[in-house]
Symmetry: D4
Subunit: 252 residues, 8 copies
């Protein structure tokens, strides 16, 4: 029920075309959600300001191209995650500004000017095999308007490499920590910094890593406080959460 319909109904009451009882009854039987949610949705879209993201895995190239075109037609930026170079090529054929982020396996199409988020996100990766997930997080965060600092190959087996970057990590307002295998990095990092840590376990590993379960459990049991965990390999979700945290800062 859009505001116009409500107003027409109320004008009918004012004009005597509709009794209060009839109007009450019609209001009660309307799908009430339309009233508030449509507006709220709009409101949220305005406030959120984050462009749309498409989870590419399991969608066919034509489906993805169609979604991208529909959004771009409305002037909306769009991001496709978990996709391939082949999809990028089909998207690029119809949208000239499309970009292929090979390590992140993402396609982005940016429209209009982006509102920068306040503050800075550091994306840490424990090992080189964790890069696809870390890059997904970094590309998504940048796409959402965040300043991103990539700090890679700082796994706990070579602690000095991590400690060498401590200053840079401490400067970030949110730290995304991506690690597979034993998933120890978020515990260590959360002990070094004062900012919220978003931990992303990856499926990197073999044997008793059980597809990322070992890293996931380790992160949930992190002995340092201040760590929120997302699903295995969910670089997108980590970046989204980190950007929500940053945006809150602009509202403060």
């Amino acid at each position: 029920m859009d505001p116009r319909s409500v107003k027409e109904l109320l004008e009918g009451v004012r004009d005597g075309r509709l009794s209060p009882d009839e109007a009450a009854s019609r209001l009660a039987t309307l799908p009430f959600e339309d009233l508030g949610f449509a507006k709220l949705d709009h409101h949220r879209a305005l406030r959120r300001g984050f462009p749309e993201a498409v989870f590419g895995a399991g969608k066919t190239p034509p489906q993805i191209v169609a979604i991208v075109e529909r959004m771009a037609a409305r002037g909306q930026s769009v991001l496709v995650t978990r996709t391939t170079a082949a999809v990028y090529e089909q998207v690029a054929a119809v949208r000239t500004g499309a970009q292929w982020h090979v390590a992140a396996r993402c396609v982005t199409v940016e429209c209009g000017t982006k509102v920068p988020l306040p503050g800075r996100i550091a994306v840490l990766a424990a090992g080189t095999s964790d890069l696809p997930v870390a890059e997904e997080a970094a590309v998504v965060a940048a796409f959402h308007g965040a300043a991103v600092e990539r700090i890679y190959d700082v796994g706990v087996a070579g602690l000095h490499r991590l400690l060498d970057r401590t200053a840079a990590i401490r400067e970030a307002d949110v730290v995304i920590v991506v690690a597979g295998m034993e998933g120890a990095l978020p515990s260590v990092v959360a002990g070094l910094v004062d900012s919220p840590v978003v931990a992303v376990p990856t499926s990197v590993g073999y044997g008793a890593s059980f597809g990322g379960l070992a890293a996931l459990l380790a992160m949930l049991n992190a002995c340092s406080s201040g760590v929120g965990v997302v699903n295995i390999d969910n670089g997108f979700g980590a970046a989204h959460l980190a950007c929500l945290i940053l945006r809150g800062r602009s509202a403060a």
Copy 2:
């Protein structure tokens, strides 16, 4: 927002005390959910007609007594599951009609006359150790107004005892099947009857039953179609689902 408030608002519009614009704005800013849900909730309560149930585990006797008194004061019947004789005694001290169902570990307090549900529910139990769960289902179903047929000790290890009761099982409109250990009974029963089967795995067993997991998995993998599974030891939930199925029949 209750109907009366809406009507007052609309009368304000009719009487010229409120412009349509002002009224539209006030409608939009009201917690919209009140409008519909309160009514719907009321509606649902009327249609559902099932008395309230209290999950007794983890509540203190005084908490349970307080809840029972509040409901009984409104003339509502009430059921307490997973409780103890000690709680019953405290309830009985304040409500004379309270009943203690020892095998089901339930207390019931019935107020007013109960509307019987159409049809009949058979509650099957594989072994004697499954009785507490089966009795919970039976007591809850009876409390909701269903005719209940108890058919116990018909585990698949003694198939003839089950087959001896086939006719009675087939007469039921819904069959609740309670079994622990290997949880095979629902598969067998669903192959014998034409009615929906509600399967309840129990935590009866030891070792590789892993607290009912073995029975749960077996029931989810039942080779016979027509089986819906509820949580381990959830006799209440099974009875509730069965009664919803029966009540639908009265609407048909």
Copy 3:
């Protein structure tokens, strides 16, 4: 042991060709199951009235074609689930009425007129990736004679889309709810409706969804009563159970 054999034996007794003792002994050593079950089976087939279904996964195209032909030759409708367009083409080559349900991955061949089931089934899907399972449920339910309302893309992340469809969902007599990932939809829906809910977890998700385990556990632990759960991705089973529930209504 068919009825005719029993009668011949009894005529032998009447005519004195067989003593009661001999007859008793022969009755006892006959495979007794033939007596009752054959008849019951026939009886059940008549009462059930549901056409045959073939689980296509793991069967070769020639095997499926052979089964379809044998059934169609007897004038029986037949449904093949979890199959492919390639199988459909082979079936269509020999049965002109065959239909290919691409989203459901099902082939149907209908013979004769279908007896409609009383009432209506709503099939809800949380996300677009859940559609194959939801469509399997919808196609199977329609094939069994049910009126089916498809209500898709109503996952809990966008609650207003679900609430917009509340009226339609409440009109259904049984609600099938299909969801992957966190599997929250059945809990929410069961809180909104008065009908039985059949919950189908799907293997949609990644990482800690563990092939549908997360959604399955969530549904078994649904905080709303009135939910029966079937196996992961088991759209067929959900539809079968829902149709059994509907058919019971015609008997009431």
Copy 4:
């Protein structure tokens, strides 16, 4: 190595009592970590400004009393989680300002004036059994200086109760969502708000909840983005993470 020692060493060099080579050698052989970490630690303590917390489970009352006394002697506020009324009584016997938060199972001793954190935290609980964990989160957050809004009993089975509180939830800058059983609430809430959601699975449930595993998996697989998950029953950790997020806002 504290700053004073370093300065003495350098003064020795300036005064000619120590050659640069000797000084370099002594610097290199000192436990280098003392140099930086002691200072950083101090720095962190100043910036963090969060009082100390003691995990009470598994510590004896005398141990807890000793810790509390040592901290209070230094004028530090202190919080004891997962403790008992008996411990509180022993603490209260030695520290007059001690407070017992019965629902949260926490003791707090506040010293000096607390610096309020900017913004507001909403703590949601799905059911009444989740209150101990929710209260732990609320008490900890308040102890850290946050404004806390408790919004309890808003589980998804009664969606209208949740929707009635939508406005209050949306006003929070961080939302902590505590839920056991199927753990669906964070998915629903994250779809309604624009702020970061910290999800806390609880061990509330039985059977296939497997001690909170079902809720944990559901939250990790939340279909709404913007959710960070902490360990089962970890109300403290959720509050700590939420307060880190709030404090970042003051720095922005």
Copy 5:
């Protein structure tokens, strides 16, 4: 339907009191299972010849005493497993011949003379903590009439103790192997002997033994063929299976 009823019915036919059609109809509508199963059950009881066993865990002492008395009154021997000295004392108070097997946690009451089974069962236990399960197996097997050889403390960590007993183990016709922890003993034993091995994992162990899961999985994956596995701690089941194997030998 007992044989006498059948005969009466058939005599009715012979005597002309009942037409063959009427008799056929009555036979068909009788609970058919009575016909065969009662007899078969009887037959099985005769052939099986194994006395009844009562699973004592979870039964109250009065329940157990009642069962024992009922059986003893019929002259049947009876065995109670997983029970306590307290139960034994109550049983002994009413049945003079009752025996308490302390290590096996079993009570036996033997009536009449026992038919010995052909052949011999060796019961091996890996460690002293496995003795309760091993003794349950040994006591049950002896109670069923088997000659039992106990060979304890022959875990694979001290291989020479096992090898010292190789001759005795090879003389057995069935070998029951009881082991917890890593559950390696059945693999080793099955490689040494030519007889069937019944493997019983025990819940002995801690940490990653996960209540016997480690031993169970090891035994299911035994690299030696000829091993059948029973449930964790199921000494009774192992003995029952072993005695069935022995009894088959007498039939050969």
Copy 6:
């Protein structure tokens, strides 16, 4: 150390060429295992009399052909399990008597005359998808000399088909029961027969069957005694165990 060496050594002692001390020392330092085990091994090979079996999965065709040829050259029969038609063709090219068991995925090459085992094995399969495992069991048992009765498609969903075959099942001396999905068949069968049951869970199923885990747990928790379980899909192991049981009968 073969017997001849021992004798030479002892003759040296008798002849005075070797002192008792020297001989004792040489005996102690000889690899003692050679003494007994070589002989025992030989002994066991004679007693066992079962031909060799080769687990084909993961071996290359040339490896398998080489093994088959080496054995056949010694006049030994040989069986290859888990193999392919391609392997069979290569084997058949070099050994004329090779046979391809397509459903069992086995190749057999028989040399000389086979000693029949006493008694009979029934191999039951719940569903048609379980046939590869059931056939593996049947082919292996026959290859070992057992009389095998195949009783297929007797899953518990259609109990009458199972009951129709009760007599045949009861005639068997060992019953191998193969079932996937919920794995209920062994419980039912063990309740119907007096012989040992060897239960084989299969990986047939999907979703919550977790690759056969559901069936495996069900069988381990079988409510009927007398069931020994082997690994998932281990038709070979079941047949081997069953044949060991049969062979024991000839020794009795």
Copy 7:
């Protein structure tokens, strides 16, 4: 067969009392393992030189006292792990030198002089809750003759405390690392040192630590090489392995 028996037999041959054939036959039929293993066992005991250890959990005080007395009577030192002060008191009543290690929950009784092992073992513990396991390791290692350096409360959340102790850790020849929760410490330590690391997961934690499983998986997936893992809470096993490593050094 002890050496003396062998010699007597050989003397019989030399003296003509026994023919070589008879002697060969007697040697072959003797339990051959006695020959070698008794000696080897003796040999191993000598070389090992480690005193006996008794796993106290699940043994009654009288059983433990009896074992201790028997060993002490032979002049053997003995260690009881996982025991209580009550047991210690009973032991101390009969053996004056007994010592109670309260934090390690161990009793030791030392007899004679201990041979020190070469080198040094560092025992690290992440948190104070890990101390019982760490102390068990430290007490056992010291009891076996090792020089032990305890380095506690060096969890990765406060990295500087660990780094402050780096020099001491590097001086150890074997490092035992004890940690619960996320189990990250062994990865970090193995990256800092050149010696073998023995990792001991503990059951310290709650929720998703699943009794130590999280820490165990983390340690098995340690991204640093050079880590060997023992069972959860197995301080004894870690110390035993570390001492075997040290003793090898004396042999080098």
Copy 8:
């Protein structure tokens, strides 16, 4: 901060160009880790002396070739594990000394002369399917300078083959034991030897081996002390740990 920078800074103090306060401040703000860790790292590299290893799985051939060339250019030996013949060919095209270890799936390029490690490593494999992992361990250990004794096909099902090799196994200073399926071999071996045992579970098996989980759990629960476990299939890690143990011997 390298030593030279520190010295320059100190010379500035001595020369009066820098005040002690300024110097203290600059020391404190330098990335302190550079000071110690760079040196330590260098130190460790020198002491470790183990050539670099590259985990080949998941790296492209060009990536591997590039790494190999860079290392070889510095005169460093390099090892590539989990790789393929195709990668070997590309490496061999650019480095003449490259070697392909087909069974181990490793490429090695050796530069300069290798320092032999003291002592000897025995690598045991239970079955032929375990050879890839065992060979990886053997090749890595040899590459690190160890003398390696391969002892294969000594699974516990044929105990005499293992016992025949006891002497050789006892001569080793560290024993690596590789086994899949039930993983029993390390328990047995640790009972036979006095040296540390490094246990490697493999993913060899099917069904309830769950990808090596069964073997892993068995090894963690080994009833013999002295066993350290590494990840499933981690031949490299086992060899690395064994070589660290050996190298410690040279330092003793």
